[in-house]
């Protein structure tokens, strides 16, 4: 793992979506999808981002790439603040940062052959001749475990797992340094899911890739991540090294989340913390700590004050008044 300067530094990242009402589309409020996220990531590392639906994990991933324009904060990639770049500078920068989507069915153009889909990034960035592009396509397909002969087929001819391999090949086309994987295995069957996870492991090793792995499945995130960040309602709840987080979860939300995951072992005995109620709306988040409405350990201070983000153990941060 590379030492020294981090590859990616995210500071105070926020994304508020305006809520517009009425004939004149007045802004009547904001959905605070991401409400202040900070992290640093070194080259070759994987940061897992977990949380339930609506916690802002996908929006966070997309804001880093500026596919969604962040409302505030800095995204510093190799020393350059991505949020300050012009459109054309940003386009050049995107060669370094790619995205793999959840739904392999929806993210490939059904009218394009696999070769057309994989060559498009090279054409946009004017890389190589047609024949060298085709050569690249064939080697990429081979690298992600598909027969290079499939290059002229259409997406509908592939299974979900194969399409996700194509999605990964597309992300690799321009030799990026950072790949944001947004629920990359959520739509896949268990047996195929593990094939894709192993492929991601291998590619990271071979190309020294840095991953931000956004997912809701905790066992998958634990498997692939070096560090994990738990998000709740647009806020960071806890962050720690992968093993540490599962051994000693500090935030009551992390504890509840871990205890809720069904374990495929009928003998596994454990205390299950069943959270009451639903996720509050990010358009109208609770005062103080966003988790206090469902927290089994909520105190008076939790309703009034938002807990600060602090390092409680080495490399283990949490936002909770208990610590």
């Amino acid at each position: 793992m590379a030492q020294g300067t981090p590859l990616l530094e995210v500071q105070g990242l926020k994304k508020y979506f305006p809520i517009k009402r009425g004939v004149f589309r007045h802004t009547v409020g904001h959905v605070r999808a991401v409400d202040g996220v900070d992290f640093t990531l070194r080259a070759g590392e994987t940061l897992g981002v977990v949380g339930e639906s609506g916690c802002g994990k996908s929006t966070m991933g997309r804001s880093v790439l500026r596919l969604i324009e962040p409302s505030a904060g800095n995204v510093i990639f190799e020393g350059k603040d991505v949020t300050k770049l012009s459109k054309s500078q940003m386009r050049a920068m995107r060669r370094e940062m790619q995205l793999v989507f959840q739904d392999p069915y929806a993210s490939l153009n059904p009218r394009n052959t696999i070769a057309q889909t994989l060559m498009e990034p090279m054409q946009i960035h004017n890389i190589g001749t047609r024949s060298s592009q085709m050569e690249r396509v064939r080697s990429l397909l081979d690298r992600v475990g598909l027969d290079p002969e499939y290059a002229n087929r259409y997406p509908h001819e592939f299974s979900g797992g194969q399409r996700q391999r194509i999605g990964i090949a597309r992300a690799l086309t321009l030799n990026p340094k950072l790949i944001i994987l947004d629920e990359p295995v959520a739509a896949l069957d268990v047996s195929v899911q593990s094939q894709v996870l192993n492929l991601l492991d291998d590619l990271q090793e071979d190309f020294n890739l840095t991953y931000i792995f956004v997912a809701h499945d905790l066992s998958v995130v634990r498997h692939i991540s070096d560090r994990i960040m738990v998000m709740y309602l647009g806020n960071m709840a806890e962050s720690a090294d992968s093993d540490e987080l599962f051994i000693d979860p500090l935030h009551p939300y992390t504890q509840a989340l871990l205890s809720a995951v069904p374990i495929p072992d009928p003998d596994a005995k454990r205390e299950r913390i069943i959270l009451q109620g639903d996720l509050p709306s990010p358009a109208n988040p609770p005062s103080g700590c966003p988790f206090h409405t469902r927290c089994p350990m909520a105190m008076d201070v939790c309703k009034r004050e938002k807990p600060v983000w602090k390092e409680v153990k080495p490399n283990h941060q949490v936002a909770c008044h208990l610590y």
Partner: protein, 331 residues
Amino acid sequence: MSKVLESTDLQNVLEVKDLQIEFKVDEQYYKAVHGVNFHIAPGETLGLVGESGCGKSVTSMSIMRLLKDPTKVSGQIIYQGRDLLKLTENQMRQVRGNEIGMIFQEPMTSLNPVHKIGRQIGETLLLHRGMSASRARKESIEMLKRVGIPRAEQIVDEYPHQLSGGMRQRVMIAIAMACNPSLLIADEPTTALDVTIQAQILELMKQLAKENGTSILLITHDLGVVAETCDRVAVMYAGRIVEEGSVRKIFKNPQHPYTRGLLNSIPKLTGERKRLEPIEGNVPSLRNMPDGCRFAPRCPFAMDKCVAHNPELFEVEDGHRSRCFLQEGGQ
């Protein structure tokens, strides 16, 4: 509970025998379910596990007779001594929602968006119990309370879109349980929900089933959910049951290479993180089913005879069966 035990003490609530389901695609029939047999005892929860396309959902739909022409369903589906496949549509209507309840994966698409919650729960009560509208309403509120919905008196007059996913699934359970069915079919009931909400819903299903002595057929792809909720498990692959047994046997001593492969391929929450052992290849498509054992093309132990012949379900030990030549003649 005691009432159920008296009447059906020795009898299974449901017995599915040699179930075959064929779909018509481009003027040709393809078999999606191929000779499936299973039973559910009173108060028992049976998990039907498998990956997409293995036939688990269509099996559950065939029990409710929800598959329409040109789909062909044959075999026997014996519910409380009656073959459901032989009932008239009118008789079947008496069974659906009354004796057998069903909940689906997507609560938003299975609730009617233009009717209030109360009406949707009350509908089953009006239809099957002949209740008056006012009693049905009272009963609906009672059901909402039983499934843990706060402000039941107000929610009864709200529409599905006003509720969260977890709340909608609770409403679905309230509808399914309104007539106190002896069998509940739950098809991926928590797949669309977040883990903390999933934990609530599974807990609720377990508790209701225990209180009423309801048998459950739980269809899922999530082995964790199976381990935590089921008594027995049937693993399906490509239209056939490949292994069945008690939860303990299946998870502690899996026999079929597919079951073992599934268990090995899921990342663990505890212990050392190591490379996953996936099952190579893909699930075969309906149009292109391999001859012999359908798992043979992906099986690390495949022998010559696996390609040529389809193995029977061999008894490994009492109540634990595996469809694999490795277990031929017992252990």
